[in-house]
Amino acid sequence: MSYAIEMRHIRKEFPGIVANDNITLQVEEGEIHALFGENGAGKSTLMNILFGLYQPDQGELYVHGKKAVINDPNDATRLGIGMVHQHFMLIDKFTVAENIILGREPKKHGLLDMAKAVKIVKELSEKYGLDVDPYQKVEDITVGMQQRVEILKTLYRGSDILIFDEPTAVLTPIEIKELIVIMKRLVSEGKSIILITHKLKEIFEACDRCTVIRRGKNIDTMSISETNPSDLASMMVGRKIHVQVNDAPYDPKEKVLEIEHLNVLDSRKVNVIKDLHLSVHGGEILGIAGVDGNGQTELIEAIAGLRKVKEGTIKLNGQDITNQKTRKIVEAGLGYIPEDRQKHGLVLDFTIGENMVLQTYYKKPYAESGVLKNKVITKKAEQLIQEFDIRTPSEKTLARSLSGGNQQKVIVAREVDRSPQLLIAAQPTRGLDIGAIEFIHGKLLDEKKKGKAVLLVSFELDEILHLSDRIAVIYEGNIIDIVNPKETDENELGLLMAGRKKGGAES
């Protein structure tokens, strides 16, 4: 039997780094094949080669057993290969339908036939259970829906080999479950799928086989039924992984963050934070659990000064920071790991070094009399690259060319290193590999031990339960309960997040 996809001895170099070094990948017809490896191992690169975005320096490609040359995405599409990219390829100002049909537009008398486009999108969306609104602009829809749009794009082009590059990193647990159902349905229709993910749970739930790569090299390919999560994890990082636990005693100090009567509007001018009260103490990690869209984003943006507060006060270290300039708030002691790393966390066209000093560049020792001290910045960056294991040729590399997970590490390194009084960590381990996650967890716990306050927002209930000293459940813009992680579990949290107060009463 021939393979749906066979990539033989692929090599790809970038300036200063061999991203793929003699990698072979064989995907059987009708399977879900996991591609598993550390941040920067070369997974996206390999998939971009398969999709025709990069040209390999060496190696051969076979599609359904036939040798193929893929010079650009057009060739890939013709061969039935579709890709959902790690960073979405969507045009914000276009509608969902326009994004899907772009490049293969339905026409009537040579003109765009949008009515037909909408009809096609609706049909496809029903057939595969991918719920989207064809008329909405992409900039107005949730990340989950954006992802469904990406999948529909490939299906519209009739792809039978689908590449998913870390589709679950940006999804909520419920959306992940739905996605797995969808992938299984696609496979049962005869399609083959390559899935990149850092989450072992998904690999064991969804995949048939798995290929592990490390630092650009093949490690092994195996059947999922013949392995187990901990073996797979150590195979990927090449060492045993120590799980970090929150074992330091809970000894809360004075209030660092104090929020009272907070009201905030979202972009559509709807009141999404309603009279919210919350305080975080030094020496504790407060986790915020909640279903996406219940005001988490707006809450942290309001604290960070990125969104206007309509009513109420926010105090940091006793200082009123309500509606202050972000720099003021940062100087008052805020560190912020934002949800969207490319939009708010990094200047993609700056070097890693420059990104490392984004909040501190104007102060000693990074600047003196208004002149940047490049040597000091370089040294700092090199130290952080070393400490946080950021995979890059040098600190002069542009943030843009880093792998997704390594971009995330740059932000975390910068914020944690400043050791702020209050650290807001929003989805801090999004897109990170298992090794890196444990490392970051360790760093957050260190902050707690140092007596700093950490506000953790995450969709990963595991992460919340694991690290928090207290868990605040947010529902429809309000903290409806605060629970002790030692006395609760995923089920109870799940119910609370759905708006049910303890004792089963509907709120």
């Binding site: 999709f51 890709m83 100002k93 772009l102 490049g103």
Partner: protein
């Protein structure tokens, strides 16, 4: 003088001065919607005006009479299109800075046209006047409508109406055809367009070439309806006004047309101020600078950069993340 009389002076003059701006800013729409900033509109207009001048002179001599300026506009369109390819090659294929390339285009156009004028006309700094302009006329029938007629249909040129019709046509092309969708996609997110098999460079070449064609037409119309001969100072600032109209019009064809009409109005005010009560008492410096001052006010006061196509001015490098 009654308001009605003032309007019969100002509106036809507005329509006249706006037409070249409309054509040129529509050119800008094509280019910038595809993601290529085009500061070179001024130069493209110069090339168009120069080409129109010598073509009309030539065609007149060949005995084509009243058809001469019309054919000259078409020739100027082709010349503008070809000239704009310099900008395309430099900024798309070689990914040079688009602003610098556009500025270079302006210098090149000014130098080249004047050099050619001197060469063709024995060292003179300007071309002779053409004798067949596109004249101001009264539209038969329509100009007889009471009130409306004298304001909108007397003392006008066909090119003004043509400009307005063409803006609607361009709107249609950009928002209702597959071509338009693709053009906008490469201006917003070229990498995304690329993954869908759209040839980013080709679309941008077309965008820039169309800006050349329309800029050429704009310059030609300016020449055959307003100045009638070509010298270095002929275009002086018109291309930049068109650029401003493009921005003020939020990169939208109808918006650009509206903004062009506004700037046309500002220019008409300064041209006709001597005939208008109260205005005729103001020092002429004020009236002459008015269009530019208004432009500044409008651009600083009403326009946010956020409206520009997202990838406007950003060269696309394949395979870069």
């Amino acid at each position: 003088m009654s308001l009605f009389e003032v309007l019969t002076i100002i509106i036809p003059s507005t329509l006249l001065t706006a037409a070249p701006l409309i054509f040129t800013s529509l050119g800008g729409v094509f280019s910038e919607r595809s993601g290529v900033v085009n500061i070179g509109l001024e130069g493209l207009m110069a090339v168009g005006a120069f080409t129109a001048a010598i073509s009309t002179l030539g065609l007149e001599r060949a005995g084509l009479g009243d058809a001469s300026p019309w054919i000259a506009i078409l020739i100027a369109a082709v010349a503008g299109g070809i000239f704009s390819l310099i900008h395309a090659v430099v900024s798309i294929s070689f990914r040079a800075d688009q602003t610098v390339s556009g500025v270079a285009l302006n210098f090149l156009a000014a130098g080249l046209t004047i050099f050619l004028v001197k060469m063709i006309f024995d060292g003179k700094g300007q071309t002779p006047y053409i004798s067949h302009n596109i004249d101001k006329i009264s539209i038969p029938g329509l100009s007889k409508i009471p009130f409306i007629g004298p304001i909108f249909f007397q003392q006008v040129t066909y090119t003004s109406y043509l400009a307005i019709l063409v803006s609607v046509f361009v709107w249609f092309i950009i928002f209702k055809t597959p071509f338009g969708l693709r053009l906008r996609s490469v201006g917003e997110h070229p990498a995304a367009a690329d993954t869908l098999g759209i040839n980013v460079s080709r679309m941008r070449y077309i965008g820039v070439a169309l800006s050349g064609v329309f800029g050429g037409i704009g310059g030609a119309v300016y020449l055959v309806t307003i100045t009638s001969n070509y010298s270095v100072t002929t275009i002086a600032g018109q291309g930049f006004l068109a650029l401003a109209a493009l921005v003020f019009g939020k990169w939208h064809p109808i918006g650009a047309m509206g903004a062009s009409l506004f700037f046309g109005f500002a220019q008409a005010l300064s041209i006709t101020s001597q005939q208008i009560p109260y205005l005729d008492r103001l020092p002429s410096v004020i009236m002459l600078t008015a269009p530019y001052v208004l432009t500044l006010i409008v651009l600083t006061g009403f326009v946010g950069r956020a409206e520009a196509p997202k990838a406007d001015g950003v060269p696309y490098i394949k395979g870069q993340r």
